[in-house]
């Protein structure tokens, strides 16, 4: 069961949650749908466009919701999607 916090953590200012950068290698996708279906935060959905294989690759709905669980990276049979931590330059806003 997820822990429900009754107040904001005391070190919220110091700790920045990682931001995700989702990369989709569109033409490598074979349209299995695993990443879309199993994403815990429903960050992805099937796009309208058709890639070189004739299927609909995923598209990002809201990258800010991604928690970098990397499930999509590991479950993709075609190495067509991966998530990396966005490298924040000094002084960027959350």
């Amino acid at each position: 069961m997820p822990v429900r916090l009754w107040r904001a953590p005391l070190d919220t200012q110091k700790v920045k949650p990682p931001k995700a950068e989702i990369h989709i290698l569109k033409d490598q996708c074979k349209g299995c749908g695993f990443c879309i279906h199993f994403c815990p935060k429903k960050v992805l959905e099937e796009s309208e466009e058709i890639n070189a294989r004739g299927v609909h690759p995923p598209k990002i709905v809201d990258e800010s919701k991604c928690i970098l669980c990397s499930f999509c990276t590991s479950v993709c049979p075609d190495f067509a999607i991966f998530v990396v931590e966005k490298q924040c330059k000094e002084g960027c806003q959350t």
């Binding site: 074979k30 749908g33 695993f34 499930f71 479950v75 993709c76 075609d78 991966f82």
Partner: protein, 281 residues
């Protein structure tokens, strides 16, 4: 300034042979993904890694991994790997093959390699049929399942692979599905670091053929079956871990320490060799 986006694990894949031949929704790609993820996390010396595969869809995996690799005849990767490991015990020899290749035609080699406890590692993609040749019944096809050679429903009892591996003497036995990607990756890491014969069964979707014949037409439907039916039970009795439509027991079953065959053999050879050299020089 547009830099080409490159998958972080791309360096472990043979670019000239990609994209792989596997169908949309096939679990083989997931197994390959978890395998290269594991060798990446372990920072393995790729020069010392040899991937051996047999015949079947999963057998193509050896060609896709960017290390020393060999694609043998049907059923023989374990025997080939035994020769490699004994000739050069420094090499890490991993067999990635299928349920039919390893347990039907290759069954004899499997049980003897496990019995000897030779330090080769076996990752079995269990998709319940012979996919490459069009979906025939295999040694793990569930009862009542439809395949091209069981058009009236399968009446042969399937193997319980983890039970077979444990009974034959493997030092590490685990079963995961392609849904349990993180556990599978961790399991592969453990497999590669243990001494002796290790075995991981990966229950894998074959939606184009097995799934289609058995009312699970897409990879998603098969993965949903895994999600509903699998339960993680660590170190339960492998004899009771038969796969049924309602129940797929996953987890680690065996994790014991037993000295490996190649270690024993090379120690013995060194001992006899030394004695002989002392006698003649």
């Amino acid at each position: 300034m547009e830099t080409e986006i490159v998958h972080p694990l791309a360096k472990y894949l043979r670019e000239a042979m990609m994209p792989h031949i596997w169908c949309s929704g096939c679990g083989n790609g997931i197994i390959l993904n978890c395998f290269v993820q594991a060798i990446d996390e372990l920072k393995m010396d790729l020069n010392k890694l040899v991937v051996v595969s047999g015949i079947g869809c999963i057998g193509r995996a050896a060609g896709y991994v960017n290390t020393n690799s060999f694609h043998t005849t049907h059923g023989r990767p374990i025997a080939f790997a035994t020769g490699v490991k004994l000739a050069n015990p420094e090499l890490e020899v991993v067999i990635i093959s299928g349920d039919g290749d390893l347990f039907a035609i290759g069954g004899n080699h499997f049980i003897h390699a496990a019995r000897r406890n030779i330090g080769i590692k076996v990752i079995c993609a269990n998709n319940f049929n012979y996919g490459m040749t069009g979906g025939q019944q295999g040694p793990t096809t569930p009862i009542e399942a439809l395949t091209t050679t069981t058009p009236y429903g399968n009446i042969e009892h399937p193997f319980n692979l983890v039970h077979l591996a444990a009974a034959s003497g493997a030092t590490y036995v685990a079963r995961w599905t392609t849904l349990h990607v993180r556990k599978l990756t961790q399991s592969i890491k453990k497999l590669l670091q243990k001494e002796g014969f290790g075995f991981i069964e990966v229950v894998s979707p074959c939606p184009e053929i097995f799934g289609r014949y058995n009312k699970m037409r897409t990879g998603l439907e098969m993965m949903e079956w895994f999600r509903k039916a699998s339960m993680v039970e660590n170190f339960s009795d492998p004899a009771k871990a038969e796969i049924t439509p309602e129940r797929i027991v996953v987890g680690e079953f065996v994790d014991i320490a037993k000295v490996s065959y190649e270690k024993l053999l090379h120690e013995k050879i060194a001992e006899i060799n030394e004695k002989k050299m002392a006698m003649v020089s």
